[in-house]
């Protein structure tokens, strides 16, 4: 109404925090209680713990993750999917609370689709990361835990962003997220080059996750590998983590060794 706008009047019970999630009813808390402290003491114990990684190289972006979903000391699901497609050219690796990740990715899909329809082209990966981080930062302090790497190919080429639920948004070439990430970073930092071939990239990603699943209790199951190219994302492989780790220790003879053994015999 015109008068409303002139006086800047707002209806008193607009639920701002449910802007993106319709029909969300708030938690009813005792008066004077701090929501975060309340959740920490009395709230449900949610699933955490994983190894996911993503890195950007000349031929696209690689995303890899384990498949173990743990809930405290108990493996809730040994075969969960932690790499979620958003649209043809965008994937997200998820870590933190599985339920939060799944919900927020659906909200992100909706936002991107609406923008694509309005503006005639899909937003860039930078835009998607910005949208996700601003949406989540409105829920800061309410114990949301979403740590995700958005991997995609847009007009500027391969793009990789790390988004955390407190609103952090970082651009980078390598990211690993989760309880197994220190082990994965060790392997990635050793073997990463921007000019790798695709096969080298696949090997590096598999190796990094395999090492992490070996040492981290909350990671395991299988290793999912995805590759985002210019033409879209592709599900490359799924390998059992233990089998993969064992293969890493089989000394495959290098070419020089083969030649010297042939020369000797």
């Amino acid at each position: 109404m015109a008068l409303q706008d002139v006086c800047n009047w707002q209806a008193p019970d607009t639920q701002e925090s449910s802007l993106h999630l319709p029909q969300v009813s708030g938690w009813t808390l005792p008066r004077g209680c701090d929501p975060q402290a309340f959740l920490q003491i009395h709230g449900p114990k949610l699933a955490h713990g994983t190894t996911t990684l993503a890195f950007r190289f000349r031929h696209g972006v690689i995303a890899a993750a384990d498949t173990r979903s743990s809930c405290g000391n108990y493996v809730a699901c040994p075969a969960s999917q932690k790499v979620i497609p958003v649209h043809q050219h965008l994937l997200g690796t998820t870590s933190g609370t599985s339920a939060d990740c799944a919900t927020w990715y659906r909200v992100l899909q909706r936002e991107l689709r609406l923008r694509a329809l309005r503006e005639g082209q899909l937003p860039s990966v930078a835009s998607a990361a910005k949208l996700l981080s601003t949406m989540m930062s409105r829920y800061r302090g309410l114990d949301l835990c979403v740590a995700t790497a958005l991997c995609g190919w847009d007009r500027s080429g391969p793009a990789l962003f790390y988004v955390y639920s407190n609103g952090t948004r970082l651009q980078g070439d390598i990211f690993s997220v989760g309880s197994g990430s220190p082990y994965a970073y060790g392997v990635l930092d050793r073997g990463y080059r921007y000019d790798m071939t695709t096969q080298e990239a696949y090997t590096l990603a598999r190796r990094a996750v395999a090492h992490a699943t070996r040492r981290d209790a909350y990671s395991g199951g299988s290793v999912d590998l995805f590759h985002v190219r210019e033409s879209g994302w592709e599900y490359v492989s799924q390998d059992d983590a233990c089998v993969l780790y064992a293969e890493l220790w089989e000394p495959k003879p290098s070419k020089e060794e083969e030649e010297t053994s042939k020369a000797q015999s």
């Binding site: 109404m1 015109a2 008068l3 923008r115 309005r118 503006e119 005639g120 937003p123 860039s124 930078a126 835009s127 990361a129 910005k130 949208l131 601003t134 007009r155």
Partner: protein
């Protein structure tokens, strides 16, 4: 009959007209002329400057405004009535805020179509609200998108917008448009200078006293808005007049 259906904006007449919107379009036709040209590597906006009163500071009478680094807008508005220039100021402010909000939410600068759509939607809202009147302005919006393609859009008080290769709004817009239809060629537009010249020539068709009543701005790809100074405009005008004379001489030679 019209008088019974033209008081409120939100009332259709029996034969389907929204009279207030049409009256707003009439107001636009009385405004000073503006011309927009889309070249291959350049976009040009030229506006007729009404002569300034003796004591008025010329620099405060600006018809071409930058909305962002890569987009600018010119509007046709009745300069006599102070009310309607204010309309333009309000629209420009909202558009500028939207350009920056878009950058904040989505990291990318607006496309020219997006901001035109925003301005057009704003204008349309005012044709469908209680207690308000439409904006009495038409606008020409030019700029370059991220992909380097130049664009020219025109909006009118009803809230529609269209893309154009070259267009004119305001007083005598029809004459100017006819001139452009005859003289605009895609090949000529690949030369920046030609694009500037055709804008000035189109405006000279209707402007009374030559170069000093023209305001001109250009945007080249990956460069910010450039307003031409009076001297630069005079240079272009003298070149145009030279070319005219030479063309006339050739004609007369042929005739003889």
């Amino acid at each position: 009959m019209a008088s019974r259906y033209d008081r409120a904006i939100t009332v259709f007449s029996p034969d389907g007209h929204l009279f207030q919107v049409e009256y707003a379009q009439e107001a636009v036709k009385k405004g000073s002329t503006a011309v927009g040209i889309r070249g291959t590597n350049i976009v040009v906006l030229a506006v007729e400057k009404k002569s300034v009163a003796k004591l008025q500071d010329e620099r405060t009478v600006r018809k071409i405004c930058a909305l962002d680094d890569h987009v600018c807008m010119a509007f046709a508005v009745v300069t006599v009535s102070i009310r309607l220039t204010a309309d333009a100021r309000v629209v420009i402010n909202r558009a500028r805020v939207e350009c920056q909000s878009h950058k904040l939410t989505v990291e990318d600068p607006v496309t020219v179509e997006y901001i035109t759509c925003f301005i057009a939607t704003l204008k349309q809202k005012y044709t469908q609200s209680n207690g308000r009147r439409p904006f009495g302005i038409s606008a020409l919006i030019v700029g370059f998108d991220d992909d380097g393609i130049p664009r020219l859009y025109q909006t009118d008080p009803s809230g529609t917008y269209h893309a154009w290769k070259a267009n004119a709004i305001g007083r005598s817009a029809k004459t100017v448009r006819e001139f452009l239809e005859k003289n605009y060629t895609e090949d000529a537009m690949s030369n920046d200078n030609e694009a500037i010249k055709i804008a000035i020539r189109a405006l000279l068709e209707v402007v009374q006293s030559g170069g000093k009543n023209i305001e001109l701005a250009v945007i080249r790809r990956n460069q910010p808005l450039k307003m031409f100074s009076a001297k630069e405009i005079e240079l272009q005008v003298t070149e145009i007049e030279k070319e005219k004379e030479e063309a006339e001489k050739k004609k007369s030679k042929k005739n003889v």
